[in-house]
């Protein structure tokens, strides 16, 4: 959750230059039964549930214009993170996530250092430089479907992600 919030926050600063946001009344997303099967939209469902909860507590959050994520940015994200927003519902979910993250703007953080993790005050453990692991090539190679003489096998170089239109055709008959 932390990862996604942080990432959507970065996405927000990348793509938009929003000042203090004003929110519309957030409506519960209409989730069709088909979407519920998709993992992506399932977590989306949880978020939107949380959004409505938060909405009840923050009366200061007022209206804002819904944010549009440009199509080429979506493409770039899909290429970099190998996630698939798949359809309009997915994109709507993303936009809602951004609006959810917008609530961070409400807090006054002047003069406060950003926090990376709640564990950042802990001492970092330093390990002694003595060999204690490794020597398990057989075990590791068993995990891979394709090996050649104790090497893992990969395709030559990264296979470029097919373009959006081609992907749509590819997944038309897929399970999800």
């Amino acid at each position: 959750m932390y990862v996604v919030v942080n990432y959507t926050r970065r996405l927000q600063t990348l793509a938009f230059n929003l000042g203090p946001s004003r929110y519309q009344g957030v409506t519960r997303a209409s989730i069709t039964s088909q979407d519920r099967k998709s993992k992506q939209n399932l977590s989306c469902f949880r978020w939107t549930h949380l959004i409505t909860l938060v909405h009840q507590y923050s009366t200061r959050i007022s209206n804002s214009k819904p944010c549009q994520v440009p199509v080429d940015l979506v493409d770039k994200l899909e290429r970099l993170a190998l996630v698939d927003f798949r359809n309009q519902e997915g994109l709507a979910c993303l936009e809602k996530a951004i609006r959810f993250a917008d609530q961070l703007h409400v807090v006054d953080t002047d003069g406060v250092d950003p926090m990376d993790s709640v564990l950042e005050e802990r001492a970092l453990y330093l390990r002694e430089d003595a060999v204690a692991e490794g020597d398990c090539a057989e075990e590791l190679l068993q995990l891979s479907k394709n090996t050649v003489e104790e090497y893992f096998v990969a395709p030559p170089g990264n296979i470029p992600l097919p373009k959006r239109e081609e992907r749509a055709a590819m997944f038309k008959h897929a399970e999800f």
Partner: protein, 504 residues
């Protein structure tokens, strides 16, 4: 040093990124062994293979290595540094990200002072410096072997997770020679510290060059990144080629592309690398599994009640700093009274300093005489036959013996050189043996020398006349003739004295 520049005064701008493999027993975040040429995937732990449920555990030795290197390069050590994830997909990076220190690295703002032999005769020590932007700890990736025949890549993760120090330099250099000299100095420093073994051919030290050209005063030109360089010599070649190529592009009216190019050692050219997909967005994020790395100035400032093994203290690391190459060069000049350019070469060539000091110990000849022999006779033959100092057929003791014979007056200086050459070819024998066998001992019989000099003088009246009328250089010719008669075994000092007397 010659600046590579076209008539319009375009100059090169070179910045280096050096990845130095930390010399440690285990990897940066896991307890698997660091080794070279082990059976594939045998030095891989579950964390290195990025299996779910594994976590990084930082190696103390790697922290000390980075701190020591930072101190040796006059860096400011950040008391608090942070770890980040750098995301990109490639088969040799199992996790899909590399743990590095992008936001707040362990050391910043240092200087590397380096020298190279410049001037017309390449015997002046020219000293320059380059700013070190930062030093960061990061993970190495695995190795991929491309099998084009079967259209597959074989992945060996032995190297995945090994600790690296990335040393980022500001673009303060302008040509291949400077870059090669800077890298050579960095190698010597890292080897002296013991933090990296610095062998470029084995991949322990990897250098990428960022090259651009511009007119001085203008803003910087578009830069290209040059990779796949496996020696300091190839670094110089690659950079010089790239500078020339970019100049050619500009002069032909084109524009330099911002791209990554690979150096081809055989042709000496750089070729565009095809697998890089435009400008990468690495989506940096803080590493959530590692709190900040803290180092402390002194034991007194460390948090109380913490075990010493859990604390890295700068004071202690500073105390353990060994003699750095620059200090060593100075010491050699002061101890032996040799010239700075000789001291530079002694430290620069592997094993040469030890060789020199061993000879000096064993011979009564002064260090200045020894350095002449080491620089000229020894280096001459080593370079000619492409040998390293450790491969020299003549040991320091053997060379000392030759010098002792000369000092004792048993052989002349020219004979000594001859003996050296002979000994090189037949290392089994001793200098004494060769002198005896070939009857090279100094002719000390003054009557004999007197007779030979007389003979030469008598048979060359014109030359004698020339000397008497003021042309002293002709005396050398007569000396040469006498030496030819005596097969170089006459004491040159005695011969000169006799000839001078006879021609006065």
């Amino acid at each position: 040093m010659t600046l590579i520049s076209a008539p319009q005064e375009l100059v090169g701008v070179v910045g280096l990124e050096i990845h130095a493999q930390i010399h440690s027993n285990t990897k940066l975040f896991s307890g698997s062994r660091v080794g070279f040429q082990a059976p594939p995937n045998s030095l891989v732990s579950f964390f290195d293979a990025s299996l779910p449920g594994t976590l990084p555990v930082l190696n103390r030795r790697c922290v000390e290595a980075a701190v020591m290197t930072g101190l040796a390069l006059n860096c400011t050590i950040n008391r608090k540094s942070l770890f980040d994830r750098k995301h990109y997909f490639y088969a040799d990076l199992p996790a899909g990200y590399q743990i590095t220190q992008q936001r707040l690295p362990i050391a910043v703002d240092g200087t590397l002072t380096y020298s190279h032999l410049g001037g017309r005769k390449r015997n002046e020590v020219v000293t320059k410096s380059v700013r070190i932007k930062q030093i960061q700890l990061e993970q190495d990736s695995g190795k991929s072997l491309h099998n084009d025949y079967r259209n597959q890549t074989l992945i060996d993760l032995n190297r995945a997770g090994v600790g690296l120090m990335e040393l980022v330099m500001e673009p303060d250099m302008s040509c291949g020679e400077e870059a090669a000299a800077a890298v050579r100095e960095m190698q010597l420093i890292l080897q002296a510290l013991g933090t990296c073994q610095g062998n470029m051919a084995e991949g322990q030290l990897r250098v990428d060059a960022n090259v651009s050209i511009h007119r001085p005063g203008d803003h910087w030109g578009i830069r290209t990144e040059v990779k796949n360089i496996n020696s300091a010599r190839n670094l110089a070649r690659a950079i010089d080629y790239e500078i020339q190529r970019q100049m050619f592009v500009l002069e032909s009216g084109g524009t330099v592309q911002n791209e990554t190019r690979s150096f081809d050692g055989k042709t000496g050219h750089t070729i565009p690398m095809r697998d890089k997909e435009g400008l990468q967005d690495y989506r940096f994020m803080p590493e959530p599994n590692l709190p900040p790395l803290m180092v402390y100035e002194a034991c007194s400032t460390a948090p109380p009640g913490v075990a010493p093994s859990q604390v890295v203290v700068l004071e202690e690391v500073r105390e353990r700093l060994p003699e750095l190459p620059s200090v060593r060069r100075q010491r050699l000049v002061e101890t032996y009274g040799i010239l700075p350019e000789h001291s530079f070469t002694l430290v620069n060539e592997d094993g040469l300093m030890d060789y020199f000091e061993a000879v000096v110990r064993e011979t009564k000849a002064g260090p200045r005489k020894v350095i002449g022999w080491v620089m000229n006779e020894l280096q001459g033959l080593l370079h000619q036959q492409n040998l390293s100092v450790s491969q020299s057929p003549i040991s320091p003791q053997a060379l000392a013996q030759i010098l002792n014979l000369q000092e004792n007056g048993q052989i002349s200086s020219s004979i000594a050189k001859q003996v050296f050459q002979e000994l090189w070819k037949t290392p089994g024998k001793t200098a004494q043996q060769i002198v005896k066998e070939q009857d090279l001992g100094m002719v000390n019989d003054s009557t004999e020398i007197y007779r030979i000099c007389q003979k030469v003088v008598d048979s060359h009246p014109d030359q004698v006349q020339a000397i008497r009328s003021g042309n002293k250089k002709v005396l050398n010719k007569l000396m040469g003739l006498v030496q030819k008669e005596t097969k170089g075994r006459a004491d040159p000092v005695l011969v000169r004295a006799i000839l001078e007397q006879k021609t006065s």
